[in-house]
Amino acid sequence: MNDDEILATIAAAVGQETGNPSLEITSDMTASDVPGWDSLAHIRILLEIGGRLGVSINIEKTYRAATIGDLIPIIKQSR
């Protein structure tokens, strides 16, 4: 799976879990740019991404991601 496909999966999960599917998600955005992306939604978003991609994401590592783009390599490392 390439970066664009992962970003599309992130965008779909963010849209679903924040109840805002029309929001445009780009890799340079942060959680603070997305209304509804709070600490509880963060967990649900990652579980949703994990479910869609069939991987288990290390949530601790995601706290070190400054941008949405920084989540991509963490997700790639997940199995």
Binding site: G19, N20, S32, D33, D38, S39
Partner: protein, 559 residues
């Protein structure tokens, strides 16, 4: 244990007795990012006395107020109980979360410090550095740094039971937080009454992830078990958010019997941890107690369904109505029996009207009771002129109890407004039916987002200074988001006509300011053009009308 005076203080006396009689027993297991720390009563004894000594060495005198900014570690407990041993008045305060900007967060404390004038602050070196970097002027406030804690003195000097035992700051913005002053006699009166209501005993184990600056965490999961000698398992709140299954692990591993949760936590547990339910046996938990927000039947249903494979039964899901001003509980459902549900006509749920039950199959809104009032508490319902209403009319809930708060700290005007002739007017809307208390929501503009209390007018005020927004032209409103079991915050702000700032920029500033001040992320931020917001005939900006307008304008409705 030796004490310096002969004042009777049943709470501190009980602590001293526990220190003497159960030194090797576990007071609390703290579960954090670095694993588990076991705090035995002898450890707490030593730690509390070290803090008490440090306070005295800082020239504090009994009655002095101490603000405690400590993250999840043993010193949380030591600093608090150490203050009580010495007759000082402690108050837990929240620290910054990983996403909050320390500069905004700490600078917002200036007003609080100027208004409340605490004698001391307890924190670690890093936290004090953050405060100073943010420009917080601590003035003559004594700094008790964890890294410089010295040795212990053996002699406690508790104050009389009528004196103030602690301050609880649980709602309002940082600067305007209400410090609820509670006497020792009120604390002990509540703890004994509530313990009897839930049949708490030393065979219980309390498991909690709740922060201690909130009444549920402080009273139900810290002071009550400390008073009764019930072991506590305390999970770091930040860790629990990411790994809610830790609560289940702790309940199973440490034979937990009691857990208090705000409504949203039932949903978070079900959504995130529910998929592993079959790995657990939760059948021995006596009660999961839903508290502090309106208890939602749908949240209970989702939790019960998700954790049915773990043996969870409806009779384990309990409700409590609580607030800091009554120390904690006003009412509690009957442990061992499912909480009662009724169906009512939603269109008739208005203040001053009698509640109308609807028959099975005739629609209506389902409500969960919050139980019977504790035996010492009188609950009455009042109209807008504070005249008594008969049951089951809907109105403001008023409470009389022998363990009401003493007042809001250094705020006699607010105290006089809310505490009248021995009745505390809660600003909660509700009714009493067949003796059972039902809570419908708030009369004022308090919004409760995932357990965080914030007032709409305070949210609007902190946004007011953002460049590019029209001053005074913002509204903050709440919608209930059934999917997450909590209210969600919606902000609508007018952009100044002459501003060149982009909508995305303004939205980001609003979100960061709100998060850094309240630790709440808005669910929606709408930037609208100048003149968009609707005013009432009296010239005020109407929250409800503007919410309705933005929904009509196409914002996705929360369902």
């Amino acid at each position: 244990m030796i004490t310096m005076n002969s004042a009777t203080n049943p709470f501190v006396d009980r602590l001293l007795l526990h220190f003497k009689e159960r030194p090797e027993q576990i007071f609390c297991r703290l579960i954090g990012s670095d694993g588990e720390t076991v705090l035995r009563w002898r450890d707490l004894d030593l730690l509390a006395h070290r803090f008490m000594t440090a306070y005295r060495r800082a020239d504090l005198v009994p009655g002095d107020e101490i603000l405690i900014f400590i993250r999840h570690r043993s010193e949380l407990y030591g600093s608090f109980f150490g203050a009580m041993l010495g007759g000082f008045v402690p108050s837990f305060m929240p620290c910054t979360s990983p996403r909050q900007e320390p500069g905004i967060y700490w600078s917002s404390h200036q007003l609080l410090l100027e208004r409340t004038r605490p004698a001391a602050i307890v924190a670690d070196h890093v936290t004090f550095s953050e405060m100073l970097q943010a420009g917080l002027d601590l003035g003559s406030i004594q700094r008790i740094e964890l890294e410089e804690l010295g040795s212990a003195s053996e002699i406690a000097s508790p104050q009389a039971e009528s004196s103030i035992g602690l301050l609880q700051h649980s709602s309002g913005t940082t600067g305007l937080k209400k410090g609820v002053a509670l006497s020792y006699s009120a604390i002990v009166g509540q703890l004994e009454s509530y313990a009897a209501a839930i049949e708490a005993s030393q065979s219980d184990v309390v498991v909690s992830w709740l922060p201690l600056y909130h009444d549920m965490g402080l009273m139900a999961c810290c002071l009550m078990p400390a008073y009764l000698g019930i072991p506590i398992v305390h999970i770091d709140p930040f860790i629990w958010v990411a790994r809610p299954e830790l609560l289940l692990d702790a309940l199973v591993d440490h034979h937990g019997t009691l857990a208090w949760l705000p409504n949203f936590a039932f949903d978070h547990m079900a959504l995130v941890a529910g998929r592993r339910a079959a790995d657990y046996d939760l059948s021995r938990v006596r009660a999961f107690i839903n508290c502090s927000e309106p208890c939602k039947p749908a949240s209970f249903d989702r939790f019960a369904k998700a954790f049915a494979p773990a043996g969870v039964r409806p009779d384990q899901l309990q409700c409590c109505y609580a607030m800091a001003e009554t120390v904690f509980a006003v009412s509690q459902t009957c442990i061992g029996a499912p909480a009662q549900r009724i169906r009512v006509d939603a269109k008739a749920l208005e203040r001053g009207q009698p509640v109308r039950l609807t028959a099975q199959g005739q629609g209506g809104t389902e409500l969960l009771e919050t139980g019977l009032p504790l035996p010492e508490i009188d609950v009455a319902i009042y109209d807008e002129d504070r005249q008594l209403l008969p049951n089951p009319y809907i109105g403001e809930i008023g409470v009389r109890a022998p363990f009401l708060f003493t007042g809001y700290n250094k705020d006699p005007a607010r105290t006089a407004e809310r505490l009248v002739g021995g009745t505390y007017f809660t600003r909660d809307l509700g009714f009493v039916l067949d003796g059972h208390v039902y809570v419908l929501g708030r009369i004022d503009d308090l919004i409760i987002v995932n357990g965080r209390n914030l007032y709409a007018h305070e949210v609007e005020a902190v946004i007011g200074d953002i460049s590019g927004l029209k001053p005074g032209r913002t509204v903050a409103v709440a919608l209930f988001d059934a999917r997450i079991g909590s209210e969600a915050l919606v902000v609508i702000s007018e952009r100044q006509r002459a501003s060149v700032r982009q909508e995305a920029e303004l939205r980001r500033d609003i979100m960061r300011t709100i998060y850094s001040t309240f630790e709440v992320t808005p669910w929606r931020v709408h930037i609208v053009e100048e003149g968009w917001l609707i005013k009432t005939t009296s010239g005020k900006i109407s929250r409800t009308e503007n919410l309705a307008r933005i929904q009509r304008a196409g914002a996705k409705e929360v369902t």
